[in-house]
């Protein structure tokens, strides 16, 4: 069972965003697993600890973990807590979309864009 240095990874939530906080957490963990920055067997922080760090209610983090478990990204175990199970089942054409997203990031970073600017550009494209 390989275990990455999950301590270097951070989660970031915006409590004023229209996207629910549990959804922000779910999306970010799913993305980290999809990018292989979290791999099978990695242990996530306890919901209580993560909620304390983010200044959230424990139920918010617990809901994000439940959603992740429902999609097969993580598993909850009695002794070891919440553990990464693997990436979610790939959607149709997942490879093409992942390549396009990687191109977006590569081009944007080459031009000196920040992550926020890249996300804004992607959101703008989604609205067309």
């Amino acid at each position: 069972m390989t275990e990455t240095d999950a301590g270097r990874l951070t989660l970031r939530v915006d409590v004023t965003s229209p996207v629910p906080v549990y959804e922000q957490l779910r999306e970010q963990v799913t993305a980290l697993v999809g990018a292989r920055q979290l791999v099978r067997g990695d242990r996530l922080p306890a919901a209580r600890a993560l909620a304390a760090d983010l200044g959230l209610a424990v139920g918010t983090v617990a809901r994000a973990y439940r959603e992740l478990e429902a999609t097969g990204v993580v598993q909850s175990r009695r002794r070891t807590g919440t553990v990464v199970a693997g990436p979610a089942a790939p959607a149709p054409a997942a490879g093409l979309v992942a390549d396009a997203a990687a191109d977006l990031v590569r081009i944007g970073r080459a031009a000196g864009w920040t992550d926020e600017q890249l996300v804004t550009a992607l959101r703008a494209a989604l609205l067309r």
């Binding site: 999950a6 301590g7 409590v15 922080p45 209580r48 304390a52 760090d53 864009w113 920040t114 550009a121």
Partner: protein, 332 residues
């Protein structure tokens, strides 16, 4: 005669206060050393400096509250209803319980992130390795207190506060002699409150440790966060372990003294002669060793209180080099 008794009392008081004075001197020396070598506030990130102040402030308040509560119980004989001397027996445990309780509140009130955008590391909480040694001391001291109290309870006289020696049958039909009764001894009168107090201390330690291990992290500096959390855990364990060690030492001193006294042969005058009655040299040695070990445990417990918690190092200097290039505008 009166001045002789007074001087005896004075000398006894002086000798019994030697460990306290010694520990106070060591504490003052260590404290002065820590203050003079501490990382200055300006050498730390503001959020780390604030977190350190919260932790050390709670630690100082816990010591003051613990000492005040222990002194109040000892001086006012709060537990007089449970028996004479029970308050004195509970003083170390009262210190440990109040100290741990204050730290529990302090950890519960640790500052949380309040801004709209918040970040958290995905690192899992682990018990800090720097606190493992103090945890072993705590477990050992608690086990010792339970064992000594249980043995005292099982071997005490029916009154629950004394130890009765064996009855010796004198030769030549002179009948039985003894039993010699020695007190205080941790029978049920002392053992039950001590065991209950130990359970309360251990419960508070479990709650405080659980809170310290999941309290909000100090954002932005994983190294400082690990040190501050280890210091929190160290403080919780240190105060409780110190209280339990002193309690264990006091129990051993009392038990050892009682066993030694009961096991010492008694000289009985019969007619013109003197008869030595009873006497168990092995038990005398055992009692003496127990009392000495108890004295050392008391001293170790007091010294443990001045064992420094893990300390922060200065923040690394900001990387030098050209300023970052300006961020281009987002295209429409």
């Amino acid at each position: 005669m009166h001045w002789f008794i007074a001087s005896e009392v004075l000398m006894s008081g002086l000798f019994s206060s030697v460990p306290v004075v010694l520990v106070a001197l060591v504490g003052l020396t260590v404290g002065a050393g820590l203050v003079t070598t501490a990382v200055r506030r300006r050498q730390l990130a503001a959020v780390v400096a604030d977190a350190r102040r919260h932790g050390t402030g709670a630690g100082g308040l816990a010591v003051l509250a613990g000492v005040a509560a222990a002194a109040a119980v000892g001086l006012t004989d709060t537990a007089a209803g449970l028996g004479s001397g029970v308050s004195a027996a509970l003083v170390p445990l009262v210190f440990a319980a109040v100290h741990t309780g204050v730290l529990w509140v302090g950890e519960s009130a640790w500052p949380r992130q309040r801004g709209a955008v918040r970040t958290a590391s995905l690192v899992r909480r682990r018990f800090p390795a720097a606190a493992l040694r103090v945890r072993r001391v705590l477990v050992g001291a608690a086990t010792g207190v339970v064992l000594v109290a249980a043995v005292g309870w099982a071997t005490a006289a029916a009154d629950g506060r004394t130890l009765a020696g064996p009855v010796t049958v004198l030769p030549d039909g002179l009948g039985p002699a003894g039993p010699a009764v020695v007190g205080p001894y941790p029978g049920s009168v002392f053992a039950v409150p001590v065991l209950a107090g130990t359970a309360v201390v251990l419960l508070l330690v479990a709650l405080a440790l659980r809170t310290a291990l999941v309290r909000p992290a100090v954002p932005g500096d994983d190294g400082a966060e690990a040190v501050l959390r280890a210091a929190s855990v160290h403080r919780v364990l240190r105060g409780a372990a110190a209280g339990l060690l002193v309690e264990l030492g006091a129990l051993l001193v009392v038990v050892g003294g009682a066993v030694r006294s009961v096991a010492t042969a008694t000289e009985v005058g019969i007619g013109d002669g003197v008869l030595s009655v009873g006497g168990h040299p092995a038990l005398v040695v055992l009692g003496t060793v127990g009392a000495l070990a108890g004295g050392l445990a008391v001293l170790a417990g007091l010294l443990l209180l001045v064992l420094p918690a893990p300390r922060l190092r200065p923040a690394p200097p900001a990387p030098s080099g050209p300023p970052p290039s300006p961020v281009p505008a987002v295209p429409a």
